[in-house]
């Protein structure tokens, strides 16, 4: 691996990300999958770094899942997105940041389509007006929320309580980064670092002390794919993709995985349990899996937040071995206590993969 070659590509694919004043839209599924992540994003940006991030309760789905499943036409998806932009305009913002990778891809695709076909934009403006009497400006800057954490990675590192380093050995942790397909594969120039060698997560890992692993199936899909997972007949196909990635990363002995997509961390996490059940195989050390995190969760850990406040008890793969490696303290008995120490009940533990 020639590191300078990657640096050259990274310098070719830098996008302009304004420092402040963003209109934030959430993902449809992330709050269920990894409930601490979006809250942590806003907390880091607003409270820790003192930036202006605004969200309101009126925004909806971007229509991305329905669009990619062919259940709504593109004009419908565009009108939904136009309404989101109208909410941003009404709130007085020009920079738009999406929490979801598919939304980010969807917004990018729609803005590019309007650039190429201005008559379509005119029609959507008419449709939006007819539907709900709203008008909109297009965002001046569009970002995915991982772009922002990437942008703030050094500020976060300065405030860090922990680094991605093995406390006992002093060695950097070996980190796999997994980028959602819709981040840059459709429009390579819109992602930090491009599509083939994205830097958005690698930059965070670098800044926070870890070592990035480049394994053969790095570019491969996590296996979610809306049409794969949601149709049960195709679900084995979804699992097979994840299995292929784990088989490929296994020799590198990764300590953890960081992702920037709503679906990827969920499937990379949960399928490890299914693979353990089906094949009797686990990929971490001593019968554990490889813990999978969102970038906000990792930022939260680095900044010293309590792992259970970050929602890490909702992961399938036990995160405790990693917390021990970094030296993050946690209370095992508080793992299944929610807000105000409310008991959220203990799940049944699987046999094939070690969990707490």
């Amino acid at each position: 691996m020639i590191y300078q070659g990657k640096q050259k590509i990274w310098s070719d694919y830098q996008k302009e990300i304004p420092d402040d004043h963003w209109y934030y839209v959430r993902s449809c599924i992330r709050q269920n999958f990894f409930p601490g992540s979006e809250r942590m994003f806003l907390e880091i940006c607003k409270d820790v770094l003192g930036k202006d991030f605004y969200e309101n309760e009126h925004h909806t789905t971007c229509g991305g899942i329905a669009y990619h499943c062919d259940t709504i036409p593109q004009e419908t998806a565009m009108t939904i997105v136009a309404r989101q932009f109208a909410l941003m305009t009404e709130a007085g913002y020009e920079n738009y940041v999406a929490s979801c990778i598919t939304s980010f891809g969807n917004y990018t695709e729609i803005l590019e389509t309007w650039n190429e076909f201005p008559e379509l934009e005119t029609r959507i403006r008419e449709m939006l007006w007819k539907a709900c009497r709203k008008e909109f400006n297009k965002p001046k800057y569009l970002a995915h929320s991982s772009d922002l954490i990437y942008k703030y990675r050094n500020e976060i590192a300065e405030k860090a309580a922990f680094r991605l380093v093995n406390k006992k050995t002093g060695e950097p942790l070996r980190v796999v980064e997994h980028i959602g397909c819709h981040y840059a594969k459709m429009f390579p120039s819109k992602g930090v670092g491009g599509a083939e060698y994205p830097y958005v997560l690698a930059g965070m890992i670098d800044a926070w002390g870890g070592e990035v692993i480049d394994y053969p199936e790095r570019r491969h899909c996590c296996g979610y794919g809306f049409r794969q997972y949601h149709v049960k007949a195709n679900r084995g196909y979804s699992l097979s993709n994840t299995h292929k990635k784990f088989e490929s990363m296994e020799p590198y002995k990764p300590d953890m995985i960081i992702t920037n997509c709503p679906g990827c961390p969920y499937f990379l996490d949960r399928w490890q349990y299914v693979i353990a059940e089906m094949e009797g195989k686990t990929y971490g050390q001593n019968g554990f899996g490889i813990p999978v995190f969102t970038y906000e969760e990792v930022a939260g850990l680095v900044l010293g937040y309590d792992p259970w406040d970050l929602g890490l008890q909702l992961h399938q793969v036990a995160v405790e071995p990693l917390l021990d490696k970094i030296g993050i303290e946690y209370s095992p008995e508080d793992k299944y206590k929610g807000l105000n120490k409310k008991d959220i009940m203990r799940p049944e533990l699987p046999a094939g993969i070690k969990c707490f």
């Binding site: 049960k232 007949a233 679900r235 084995g236 196909y237 292929k244 693979i275 059940e277 089906m278």
Partner: protein
């Protein structure tokens, strides 16, 4: 074990790292022309068995090279040794002779 109702699909990809070339190389020593096929498809187009069975000398040679020997044998079982493929091959490959050599080499290996 839990019943999920779905499973890990086996990969359909050809993995060249795992192909055992011993027998194909032996074939090439006896039949150097086996490597000269350029996949024009003349043999399959003229083969009287092709339309009913899928027999194709080009596919037999390719399957052997890619380690898919069972598939090659399945195709070859439909060959009637009529020799039309030899007649049309633009590179003058003695396909009929190659088929007989394949039978000899691979049967010897399989102990048949």
């Amino acid at each position: 074990m839990s019943i999920f109702g779905f499973r890990i699909s086996p990969s359909s990809a050809i993995n060249l790292d795992k192909v055992d070339r011993t027998r194909f190389e032996e074939l090439c020593r006896i039949e150097p022309d086996a490597m000269r096929c350029m996949a024009c498809g003349s043999c399959s187009a003229t083969c009287p068995a092709a339309t009913f069975s899928g027999m194709s000398v080009r596919k037999v040679l390719l399957n052997l090279q890619r380690g898919k020997e069972e598939e090659a044998f399945r195709l070859m079982s439909n060959c009637m040794l009529c020799g039309k493929c030899t007649m049309v091959c633009p590179r003058g490959i003695n396909t009929r002779h190659i088929i007989l050599s394949i039978c000899r080499i691979y049967e010897k290996e399989a102990g048949r």
